[in-house]
C-alpha cells in the first residue's frame, strides 16, 4: 500500500525542502494521540493482582452454586403451579430441512402468503392443488396426542385435574408473531382456499373451541412451532394452577394419565414422556448449574491457594538471591 507520495518528492535531487514556512506545516502536531502518549491505565496481570480475584470468584461462586443446587433439588415438592410437559426423544426438530420448513409470513397472517406459501415449505406446501395452511414440515408434524390427568380418589371416580391451555406459549409469539389471517368473525372463512396439513386430523381453524386459542394462535401449535435445540426435548403442554394457598396443587394420592395416542414415534426409534414439574425462580430441576458453580468456585479458590504458595516461595528465593549481591 503506497502512501504519502506527494508531489514534492518528484523533483529528483532537488534541494531538500526549503526551510521556513514549509517546515512548519510539515512538522507533525504535538498531540497526545499522534505521539502515542494518550493518558492510559496500564494494568498488568500479576500474581498479586490475580490472587484476590481468584479468591473472590471462589467466595462468590461457591455460595451461588450451593444456592442453585438447593433450589434445584427442592423443586420436586409439588407446591405452587405445576407444569405439565411432554417430551420426545430422538426427534430432530433441529434438522436444517425441518427448521426452515415454515413460512413466518403466513403464520403472521399475511393473506398473500396464506394462499401462496413460501417455497421453503416444500414438500408440505400444497396438497391437491390447494395451499396448505400452516405449511411446512414443522406444522405438519405437530404433536397431537392428548394427555389427561386424573386424581383417583379413595372410592369414587377419577377426578379430572383442570389443565390450563393458555399461557404456555411466549406472550410475544401469541400476540405478535402469530396472527390469524384477516377477515370476518368466522375463522373458517378466513382460511378459505387452503387445506389442512397432510398429517393433521382437523384443519387449523378447528384446533380449539376458544376463538382466542384457535387457528394460528393456538398455543399448542405455537409451542410446537418453536423448534427445539436438541433431539431430546420437552415442550410445555399444560399448566395446573394452584387453587388456594392452603392445599397443595397436586395433593398426595394416586393419579392416572390418559393418553390419546395419535403420534407415532416408533418409526424413528423415539420415546415419549410426560413430565410434571414445579418451577423455581431459575426454572426446572437442573443440577448442572449448581454443581458447575460449586466446582468452578472451588477450583478457583484452590488455584488461589496454589498461586499464593508459588508467589510466596518465589518471593523468598528471590529475596535470598538479592541478599547475595
Amino acid at each position: 500500500m503506497a502512501m504519502n507520495y506527494n508531489a514534492k518528492d518528484e523533483v529528483d535531487g532537488g534541494p531538500p525542502c526549503a526551510p521556513g514556512g514549509t517546515a512548519k506545516t510539515r512538522r507533525p502536531d504535538n498531540t497526545a494521540f499522534k505521539q502515542q502518549r494518550l493518558p492510559a491505565w496500564q494494568p498488568i496481570l500479576t500474581a498479586g493482582t490475580v490472587l484476590p480475584i481468584f479468591f473472590i470468584i471462589g467466595l462468590i461462586f461457591i455460595p451461588i452454586g450451593i444456592g442453585i443446587f438447593v433450589t434445584s433439588n427442592n423443586i420436586r415438592e409439588i407446591e405452587g403451579n405445576v407444569f405439565m410437559y411432554y417430551g420426545l426423544s430422538n426427534f430432530y426438530q433441529n434438522h436444517r430441512r425441518y427448521v426452515k420448513s415454515r413460512d413466518d409470513s403466513q403464520l403472521n397472517g399475511d393473506s398473500s402468503a396464506l394462499l401462496n406459501p413460501s417455497k421453503e415449505c416444500e414438500p408440505y406446501r400444497r396438497n391437491e392443488d390447494k395451499p396448505i395452511a400452516p405449511c411446512g414440515a414443522i406444522a405438519n408434524s405437530m404433536f397431537n396426542d392428548t394427555l389427561e390427568l386424573f386424581l383417583i380418589g379413595n372410592d369414587s371416580y377419577p377426578i379430572p385435574i383442570a389443565l390450563k391451555k393458555k399461557g404456555i406459549a411466549w406472550w410475544t409469539d401469541k400476540n405478535v408473531k402469530f396472527r390469524n389471517p384477516p377477515g370476518g368473525d368466522n375463522l373458517e372463512e378466513r382460511f378459505k382456499g387452503t387445506t389442512k396439513p397432510v398429517n393433521w386430523l382437523k384443519p387449523v381453524y378447528m384446533l380449539d373451541s376458544d376463538p382466542d386459542n384457535n387457528g394460528f394462535i393456538n398455543e399448542d401449535f405455537i409451542v410446537w412451532m418453536r423448534t427445539a435445540a436438541l433431539p431430546t426435548f420437552r415442550k410445555l403442554y399444560r399448566l395446573i394452577e394452584r387453587k388456594s394457598d392452603l392445599h397443595p396443587t397436586l395433593p398426595a394420592g394416586r393419579y392416572s394419565l390418559n393418553v390419546t395416542y395419535n403420534y407415532p414415534v416408533h418409526y424413528f426409534d423415539g420415546r415419549k414422556r410426560m413430565i410434571l414439574s414445579t418451577i423455581s425462580w431459575m426454572g426446572g430441576k437442573n443440577p448442572f448449574l449448581g454443581i458447575a458453580y460449586i466446582a468452578v468456585g472451588s477450583i478457583s479458590f484452590l488455584l488461589g491457594v496454589v498461586l499464593l504458595v508459588i508467589n510466596h516461595k518465589y518471593r523468598n528465593s528471590s529475596n535470598t538471591a538479592d541478599i547475595t549481591i
Binding site: G13, A23, R27, P123, W170, L303
Partner: protein, 968 residues
C-alpha cells in the same frame, strides 16, 4: 528526451557521427532555450520508462508476520476441509438407517430424493464448507491492512523523528512492513551520509609530502585572513612551488562542480571572497568541499563558460582552461579525469580518485610519502583522495579523442568500451598529492549503534571508502570497541596467504570461543566475552562469492557466514553498489533466514535497500533516490533507534496479537457450529442466526482488536528506548511461533467446548424460565453466541496493557452494541425478512435467571485458564519485558531511594574496564532499589543530589534473573 544538434543543413551536408549519452538527456520538465527547435529521439519509452522499471524492480516485499500468517491459514484451511469431510462422512454413516435420513415428519422433496448420491454427498460437503468457512478469517486480512495503513501514520506523526534542520519528517512509502521493523536481526548501513553527516569539510592537502592546512573555520564561516597557508613542512623548492600550483589547479579543474551565480540565494555555501557571491553545486559533497578548500588556499574556481573553465589564481589573475574531455566518475573505477588545454596550449590530464585506484597508475611522484600521509589520514577517519596528472602532447590527445569517440558511439557494450578506453587513457600518471576531507559523524550515531547492538541486532557497515577510514568511523561510532578483536579478510592478507588458509584460520579463532559464548548467551552476558569485528573488502568478498571450479562452491560462503555469525560487527569496505546488495542477499538467504534491514542515503545504496527485507532511506544530501526507493525514509540515522526499538517493537506486538486473536476468535466462533452438527443430524443447521454469523467479525468483535492493534503499548515508549534489550524478546518472530499459535488454537477450542457444552447442559431436557416456557434452538444459539462475544472481547481486554479512553470506548462499546443490536434485532418484526426466528429470542433469554448465571459462569470458565497461564508464566519464567512491566509500576514508589550510597562507591574508570556494566544498567539500577529499599531512609542522601548519571555504572555480578520479582 532528445539531443540538441546543429541546424539541419550543416548536418545534412556533413554527416558526422555524434554520440548521444546521458549528458544529452532531457528529462521531463526541461525547457527549450536559445533555439527554435531541436531534433529529438524518444528513448526509454513504454516498459523502459522510469516508472515501469521501478515498478518491476521493486519486488513485492512480504513481512515475516505475513508469511507465518499464510502458514497458519493453510493449517486452518486443512482444518476446514477435514471438518467438512468428517461431517460429510459421518452424515452418511448416520443416515444409513432410513428412518434417520427421512423420518415421516421430515420428508424430502421429489427432486431431492432423485438426486445422485455422489452429487448429494458433494453438495453436502460444499454446504459444510460454507457452514464452517468463517474459520478462515477473511476479515483478518482487511483488519491487517487497515492496521498497517493507519498504524503507519504513527511513524509520520512522530515528532521525535522530525528533523528541525531540514524540516523533514519520516516518510512511509510502504505500510506492509511495519512489523518487520520489530524483527530486524541484521542492519546493513552505508557509512557516508548515513552514519556520517555527509557535510564535508576540507581538512588538509598533502603535496609531495608537504602538508597544507587551511585556516580554522569558525561556525562554518571562514575567517577573513584565511587565505594563508600553514606550512607544516619546510618551505618547498621552486620546483615544488610549481607542483603545488599545479595541484591546486588540478583540484580547481578536475571536478563536475557547477557554479550558481545568484545573489539572492542565501544558501549555506556562500563564497567568502568578498565581491561576488557564488554557490557551488555538485552531486558529490566531496567535490564541493575540495573546491571550497582550494579556494581558501588561493585558487578560486569561477565558472565554466563556453567550454572554458575560469579560475582565479593567487595573484588575482584569471586563468582560462579549455575543457576538452571529462572522464566522468564511476564507482567501479573510483576516479575521474579531465583533459584541459591551458592558455599556453599545453594539454593536461588531471586525475582524481581513491588512492587504491590512483597509486597503481602512477609512475612518478613521491608515492611513499604521500601514501604514508594518506594512510595516516585514513586512520583518523578522513576521506582521502589522490590527485595525479599527465601532460599530453597533441598527437596523444588526438589518439585519446578517437578512442573516446569510438567508445562513445558504440551501440553495444558502450559502458564496457568506455571503461576500457578510460583504462587506457588514465595511466602513466604523475602523482601530485592527496587531499583529506572530514565527514563528521551524525549526531547520536554512536548511541544509536550501541542501542541497536544491545537489542541483539548485528550491525554491518558497508562502504565504498577505504578500510582505514571506515575502520576509524566504526571506532568512532562504537561499532568496534576498544576490546573488539579485529579479524581482517582483506586483499592484502589474501595475497600473503591463500583465501582458504585465511578463512580457516579465522574460523578457528572465532570458533574457539563459541563454546563459551553459547554458554554465556544463556545468561545474556555474552558481551562480557571477547567480541570480534570482521573487516572485509570488496575484492576479498568477490573471491569468496566466486563459485569454485572444483565444485565446492558453497564451501567458502558457508565458512564466511560462520565467521560473520560469530562477529558482533562487520565492516565491509571498498564495496561496489552491487556488492552491497550481494552481501545483503548472502545473509538474507543464509540458513537462519534472518531479517535484514539496509539503510543508506545515496543512489549507490538503492540496490541494497531494494534487496533487504526492509529498506530505509536517509533523506540526505545526495538526492532523494534512496529515500524514494526505500520502504521508509528518515531524516537522520539516529531516528533508526526509535523506528526499530519503539515503533517496530510496537507494531510487531500489535500485529502478532491481531493475527493470533483473529484465529482464536474464529475458532471460538465456528467450533460450536461443528459440535452442533453432531446434535442436529449433520444437517448443516446453523447454530447462530444469519445476522450474528455476518456481524460477528464485521462489527461485534472487529473494532476492539483493530484499536488494540493501533494503540497497544505493552511497555512505555521511554522504557523501550531506555532498555534496548527488550527488543530481543520479540526477535525471531517470537510471538508467532507454532507453539504460540497452537496455544491460541487450543485456547479457542477449549473456549468453544465450554460455550457449547455449557449451554448444552443448561438446556438439556429442562426448563430455564421461571414461567415454565421452553426455549428453542435459536435461544440456544444466542446463548452460545452471547457467551462467546463476551468471552472473546474480555479476552482481548485481559491482553490490553494500555487502556486509553479509546480502548475503553471501543471494548465496552462493542459489548453494548452487541446487546443493543440484539435487543433491536429481536424486538421488531422485520418486514423485509421472510423469517422471524429471532423475534424476542434475546429478550426472552435475558428474562431467564439460569441464562444469566450460565453467561457469568461460562465466561469465567473460558477466561480462567488463560489468566492462570499468564500469571504462572509471568511468575515462573518471566521475560525481560514482563520484568520491566512490573518494575515500571514499582518505580515511582522507590524514587526517593534511587540514589543510594552505592553509587558513590563506583570508581570512575570502571566502565572502561567492564563494558557490560552499562549494558545492564536498568537491571542493576533495579537491584539497588530493591536491595536498599528497606535500609535507606526516605530522605535522599544530600551529597548525592547530582549523581544521577552514576547509577548507570553500578556493578552487578550476579545473574539478572535472580534479581527480579522482588517488587511483585
Amino acid at each position: 528526451m532528445g539531443h540538441a544538434t546543429s541546424p539541419p543543413p550543416a548536418w545534412m551536408e556533413n554527416p558526422a557521427i555524434k554520440p548521444l549519452g546521458s549528458e544529452n538527456l532531457l528529462l521531463r520538465g526541461a525547457t527549450l532555450k536559445n533555439t527554435e527547435k531541436i531534433f529529438g529521439v524518444a528513448i526509454y519509452t513504454g516498459m523502459e520508462t522510469k516508472m515501469a522499471l521501478n515498478y518491476q524492480s521493486k519486488s513485492q516485499k512480504r513481512s515475516a508476520v505475513e508469511k507465518s500468517m499464510n502458514a497458519f491459514l493453510i493449517v486452518y484451511l486443512c482444518i476446514l476441509i477435514s471438518k467438512a469431510l468428517i461431517n460429510t462422512v459421518l452424515k452418511y454413516v448416520w443416515q444409513s438407517e432410513p428412518f434417520r435420513d427421512e423420518p415421516w415428519y421430515n420428508q424430502k422433496t421429489e427432486s431431492e430424493r432423485q438426486r445422485n448420491l455422489f452429487l448429494k454427498a458433494f453438495t453436502d460437503f460444499l454446504a459444510f464448507m460454507v457452514l464452517f468457512n468463517y474459520i478462515i478469517p477473511v476479515s483478518m486480512y482487511v483488519t491487517v491492512e487497515m492496521q498497517k495503513f493507519l498504524g503507519s501514520y504513527f511513524i509520520t506523526w512522530d515528532e521525535d523523528m522530525f528533523d528541525e534542520e531540514t524540516g523533514e519528517g519520516p516518510l512511509v512509502n510502504t505500510s506492509d512492513l511495519n512489523e518487520e521493523l520489530g524483527q530486524v536481526e541484521y542492519i546493513f548501513t552505508d557509512k557516508t551520509g548515513t552514519l556520517t553527516e555527509n557535510n564535508m569539510e576540507f581538512k588538509e592537502c598533502c603535496i609531495e609530502g608537504h602538508v597544507y592546512v587551511p585556516h580554522v573555520i569558525c561556525n562554518g564561516q571562514v575567517l577573513p585572513e584565511s587565505s594563508g597557508i600553514d606550512m607544516i613542512d619546510s618551505s618547498p623548492s621552486v620546483n615544488g612551488r610549481e607542483r603545488e600550483e599545479l595541484f591546486f589547479r588540478a583540484l580547481c579543474l578536475c571536478h563536475t562542480v557547477q557554479v550558481k551565480d545568484d545573489d539572492s540565494v542565501d544558501g549555506p555555501r556562500k563564497s567568502p571572497d568578498g565581491g561576488k557571491s557564488c554557490v557551488y553545486i555538485s552531486s558529490s559533497p566531496d567535490e564541493v568541499a575540495l573546491v571550497e578548500g582550494v579556494q581558501r588556499l588561493g585558487f578560486t574556481y569561477l565558472r565554466l563558460k563556453d567550454n572554458y573553465m575560469e579560475i582565479l589564481n593567487r595573484e588575482n589573475h584569471i586563468e582560462r582552461f579549455e575543457l576538452l574531455e571529462i572522464l566522468s566518475f564511476d564507482s567501479v573505477r573510483r576516479r575521474m579525469s579531465v583533459i584541459v588545454k591551458s592558455a599556453t596550449g599545453e594539454i593536461y590530464l588531471f586525475c582524481k580518485g581513491a588512492d587504491s585506484s590512483i597509486f597503481p597508475r602512477v609512475i612518478e611522484g613521491k608515492v611513499d610519502q604521500i601514501r604514508a600521509r594518506v594512510e595516516r589520514n585514513a586512520v583518523e577517519g578522513l576521506r582521502t583522495l589522490c590527485v595525479a596528472y599527465k601532460r599530453l602532447i597533441q598527437e596523444e590527445y588526438e589518439g585519446i579523442c578517437k578512442l573516446l569517440q569510438a567508445a562513445k558511439v558504440a551501440l553495444q557494450d558502450r559502458e564496457k568500451k568506455l571503461a576500457e578506453a578510460y583504462e587506457q587513457i588514465e595511466k602513466d600518471l604523475t602523482l601530485l598529492g592527496a587531499t583529506a576531507v572530514e565527514d563528521r559523524l551524525q549526531e547520536k550515531a554512536a548511541d544509536t549503534i550501541e542501542a541497536l547492538q544491545k537489542a541483539g541486532i548485528k550491525v554491518w557497515v558497508l562502504t565504498g571508502d577505504k578500510m582505514e577510514t571506515a575502520a576509524a568511523t566504526c571506532y568512532a561510532c562504537k561499532l568496534f570497541r576498544r576490546n573488539t578483536q579485529l579479524l581482517e579478510l582483506t586483499t592484502k592478507r589474501i595475497e600473503e596467504q591463500s583465501l582458504h588458509d585465511v578463512l580457516f584460520e579465522l574460523s578457528k579463532t572465532v570458533l574457539r570461543h563459541s563454546g563459551t559464548l553459547t554458554r554465556d548467551n544463556l545468561s545474556g552476558l555474552s558481551a562480557d566475552m571477547q567480541d570480534y569485528g570482521l573487516i572485509i573488502d570488496g575484492a576479498a568478498l568477490s573471491l569468496i562469492m566466486k563459485p569454485r571450479e572444483d565444485g565446492s562452491s558453497g564451501n567458502y560462503r558457508e565458512l564466511f557466514l560462520e565467521i560473520c555469525r560469530s562477529c558482533s560487527a562487520v565492516l565491509c569496505c571498498r564495496m561496489a553498489p552491487l556488492q552491497k546488495a550481494q552481501i545483503v542477499k548472502l545473509i538474507k538467504f543464509s540458513k537462519e533466514h534472518p531479517i535484514t534491514l539496509a539503510i543508506g542515503d545515496g543512489a549507490n545504496d538503492v540496490s541494497m535497500i531494494l534487496e533487504a527485507h526492509v529498506g530505509i532511506g536517509v533523506i540526505g544530501k545526495e538526492g532523494r533516490q534512496a529515500a524514494r526507493n526505500s520502504d521508509y525514509a528518515i531524516p537522520k540515522f539516529k531516528h533508526l533507534k526509535k523506528m526499530l526499538l519503539v515503533h517496530g517493537h510496537f507494531y510487531y506486538i500489535r500485529i502478532s496479537e491481531l493475527v493470533q486473536y483473529f484465529f482464536y476468535k474464529n475458532v471460538c466462533f465456528i467450533f460450536p457450529q461443528f459440535l452442533y452438527q453432531f446434535f442436529c443430524g449433520f444437517s448443516q443447521q446453523t447454530l447462530y442466526d444469519t445476522a450474528y454469523l455476518t456481524l460477528y467479525n464485521i462489527s461485534f468483535t472487529s473494532l476492539p482488536i483493530l484499536l488494540y492493534s493501533l494503540m497497544e503499548q505493552h511497555v512505555g515508549i521511554d522504557v523501550l528506548k531506555r532498555d534496548p534489550t527488550l527488543y530481543r524478546d520479540v526477535a525471531k518472530n517470537a510471538l508467532l511461533r507454532w507453539r504460540v499459535f497452537i496455544y491460541w488454537t487450543l485456547l479457542g477450542l477449549f473456549d468453544a467446548l465450554v460455550f457449547f457444552f455449557g449451554a448444552y447442559f443448561v438446556f438439556e431436557n429442562t426448563t430455564v424460565t421461571s414461567n415454565g416456557q421452553i426455549f428453542g434452538n435459536w435461544t440456544f444459539g444466542t446463548l452460545v453466541f452471547t457467551v462467546m462475544v463476551f468471552t472473546v472481547t474480555l479476552k482481548l481486554a485481559l491482553d490490553t496493557h494500555y487502556w486509553t479512553w479509546i480502548n475503553h470506548f471501543v471494548i465496552w462499546g462493542s459489548l453494548l452494541f452487541y446487546v443493543v443490536f440484539s435487543l433491536l434485532w429481536g424486538g421488531v418484526i422485520w418486514p423485509f425478512l421472510n423469517y422471524q426466528r429471532m423475534y424476542y429470542v434475546f429478550i426472552q433469554m435475558l428474562s431467564s435467571g439460569p441464562a444469566w448465571l450460565a453467561i457469568v459462569l461460562l465466561v469465567t470458565v473460558s477466561l480462567l485458564p488463560d489468566v492462570l497461564k499468564k500469571v504462572l508464566c509471568r511468575q515462573l519464567w518471566p521475560t525481560a519485558t514482563e520484568r520491566v512491566q512490573q518494575n515500571g509500576c514499582a518505580q515511582p514508589r522507590d524514587r526517593d531511594s534511587e540514589f543510594t550510597p552505592l553509587a558513590s562507591l563506583q570508581s570512575p574508570g570502571y566502565q572502561s574496564t567492564c563494558p557490560s556494566a552499562a549494558w545492564y544498567s536498568s537491571h542493576s539500577q533495579q537491584v539497588t532499589l530493591t536491595a536498599w529499599k528497606e535500609k535507606v531512609s526516605t530522605e535522599p542522601p544530600p551529597t548525592l543530589g547530582g549523581s544521577r548519571h552514576h547509577c548507570s555504572s553500578i556493578p552487578s555480578h550476579s545473574c539478572p534473573r535472580s534479581r527480579v520479582g522482588m517488587l511483585v
